[in-house]
Amino acid sequence: MTVLAPQRFRFPPVLLLFVLVPLLVEGFWVFWPAIQGLYLSFTKWDGITAPQNVGFGNYRAMVGDPVFRKALLDTAIWLVLFGGLSAIGGLGIAVLLQKERRGVGIYRSALFLPVVFSLVATSLIWQAMYQPDGLINKVLGAIGLSGWEHSWLADANTALYAVIVPALWREIGYVMVLYLAGLKAIDPALYEAATVDGASRWQRFTRITLPQLRGVNAVVLSVIVIDSLRSFDVAWALTRGGPYHSSELLSTYMYSTAFQSVQLGYASALAVVIFVLAFGVIVTYLVRAFREAE
């Protein structure tokens, strides 16, 4: 390899502008608040008087905080159920709706429609359906299952799952679109060759479709992990983490700590934990994916 001649690269000023302006905007609106958040996580702050430095006190407090442990557990359940089901459901539906048939567009649009709606507006409708006199209990009563009738959102045993359902209802459509795009990118010749070789449908799915979707999987995983950890609107609108923290997620706990109890230092520490978790999961996956690719 020859050493490149030291070339005086003249940077076009417009290009410089295109790089610097977004960097400054990003720096001011994203990085600076993030750094402030990190700083606040080491303080005790009520939003009014000057913050007091407490070192790692907030992080130590988390270890002994039963609500934090509950929120962490719920977030893990959420990640597994919401993430797992939306990935499996999204992939399944994408495979089903992959072939261009008459009317398939209607199904695809119907499934994608929830993504377009505001999740808070959606939540209000689900809230009405979950009410003690709501649609779900009425239907259960009508088909003779009145024993199953429930105050879905007010019962500590069902609240978390009742919140996951509307979130899933939305996320599956989104993941479906991602997988549909991935499926379209697979070369049909691969399937033809496999069919000629006598591969079964299942073999074609596991040997061709899944490996070919690896790139999309990385995207889907990132989307799911980020969406799980930042899931807030639906939980806050439906239960506010209640009853008594039974559907508390890290995000709702962070919000109520910051704005209801006005412990901004502790809330910032929670935000840092959420960030580290999301970043950790995604980076681990990406590193592994790249290593396999090499």
């Binding site: 502008l17 009520d46 009014i48 407090a61 003690p132 007010a154 209801q260």
Partner: protein
């Protein structure tokens, strides 16, 4: 090179501006010193967002503006948003002047941080206000920092026609109350309604407040909320032991529906009675109100002085207000009998004006509520008003859990105490 734009000077200027903006961002965590705006109208930040209350406020502002000297402009914010934003409003460099809020510890906590305007001048025009309201509006250093405009009461509300039909009468003692519950249950209704579901979990605190002031007295209650006692005290256990006696008589949907829906249940005869503040009337049809009556929360220990919850609403102002004179003029107007009568007339009319010369709505219901509060040995405000808004969610979690799992009282109370300690030390 003829591209206009990036010269070194422009670039440096841009960098400087970004730096300045970043430095301003730094102010988010610092407390900046001096005052902001001056001139223009007095800005009134209001959380009275329900339609009737909002139009009543608009009527008041219009009436004030007609008087000339100073102008006021109203900004109504949804009450949940308002509460969250209040610390931000008060600490901003350019704050609104006047705020609707609550009297008591909750206002004092802002005064202690030096955020509220000294309103002693306004109080010079309010000599006929009761000493109780004056002390409620006074901060730790003896200054008045709050102007009360109205107050209301809590009671066990029921439908007169239903009680007549079931042949029952209001209870005055705890034993009578339990008998009443049993009778109502035998008539096939849920005796006690409550709407502590959804976003109104706080109404359950009324039960805690009332049981505590009936059993342990007002002083213990206030000290408890101030962190001088523990929620794991035997006194608090007694409160829950009493509560447990009547737990079977609560509507099973008590923690599943909001208080507005619980009001509907009461009016539609699905529940017998409900401990609630008069604001519930906003959710009731006007014609139903004629059939509504209430009785005082039953007496449990006759040796404990009878105290009632009488939450007081009103205004305070920012110390950094740019026009303190105009602000005080506006609040002086709000303290007059004429202004408070106008508010009562324009709103649902279930509140009692704070000015002793102002006439209330004059209905028998209001007269009865007013008499009950006048006879009380002392008034408490409400859980969050006697402590802070930050403590309220800890009570919501504890009380809802008690409803669901009364047998886990030990762990509920220790969790509550741990959560409250964090709030007190925040």
């Amino acid at each position: 090179m003829n591209t206009p734009g990036l010269t070194r000077r422009n670039f440096l200027a841009g960098l400087g501006m970004a730096g300045a903006a970043a430095a301003l961002g730094g102010c988010a965590t610092s407390v900046s010193g001096n005052s902001g705006q001056s001139g223009g109208a007095v800005t009134v930040e209001s959380n009275l967002s329900s339609p009737q209350a909002k139009s009543a406020m608009q009527a008041l502002i219009a009436d004030y503006d007609k008087r000339g000297s100073t102008q006021a402009s109203l900004n109504t914010v949804a009450s949940e948003t308002f509460r969250v934003q209040l610390p931000t409003y008060l600490t901003s460099a350019n704050p609104p002047d006047v705020y609707t809020w609550y009297a008591g510890s909750v206002a004092r906590s802002y005064a202690d941080k030096g955020l509220l305007l000294d309103l002693s001048d306004v109080w010079h025009t309010m000599d006929d206000y009761s000493p109780a309201l004056r002390s409620l509006s006074t901060d730790a250093s003896g200054k008045q920092i709050f102007v009360p405009t109205d107050y209301y009461w809590w009671g066990m509300f029921y439908r007169k026609s239903n009680f007549a039909r079931w042949g029952v009468r209001p209870a005055t003692t705890w034993d009578e109350f339990i008998t009443l519950c049993q009778t109502l249950k035998s008539h096939g209704v849920a005796p006690i309604g409550m709407g502590a579901g959804g976003s109104t979990a706080w109404v359950a605190s009324a039960w805690f407040d009332y049981l505590d002031i009936r059993i342990n007295g007002a002083q213990y209650h206030r000290d408890l909320l101030a962190g001088k006692h523990s929620f794991t005290d035997p006194q608090v256990r007694t409160v829950f032991a009493r509560w447990k006696q009547v737990l079977p008589y609560f509507d099973p949907q008590s923690t599943a529906v909001q208080f507005q829906d619980a009001t509907t249940s009461l009016l539609q005869n699905r529940t017998g009675m409900m401990l609630i503040g008069t604001f519930f009337a906003d959710a009731a049809p006007k014609d139903a109100l004629a059939d509504i009556d209430f009785f005082q929360f039953p007496i449990i220990d006759p040796s404990v002085p009878v105290v009632e919850e009488g939450p007081t609403d009103g205004f305070f102002a920012s110390r950094r207000s740019g026009h303190a004179a105009g602000t005080k003029d506006f609040l002086t107007y709000m303290a007059t009998a004429a202004a408070q009568e106008l508010y009562v007339k324009s709103s649902s009319g279930t509140v009692i004006p704070a000015n002793p010369k102002a006439r209330d709505a004059g209905t028998p219901l209001v007269a009865k509520g007013k008499a009950m509060l006048a006879k009380a040995a002392d008034l408490t405000q409400f859980f969050n008003r006697d402590s802070s808004d930050a403590l309220q969610p800890t009570a919501d979690a504890a009380l809802t859990q008690f409803f669901d799992k009364p047998d886990q009282l030990d762990s509920i109370l220790s969790t509550w105490q741990a959560a409250a300690t964090k709030v007190w030390s925040a």
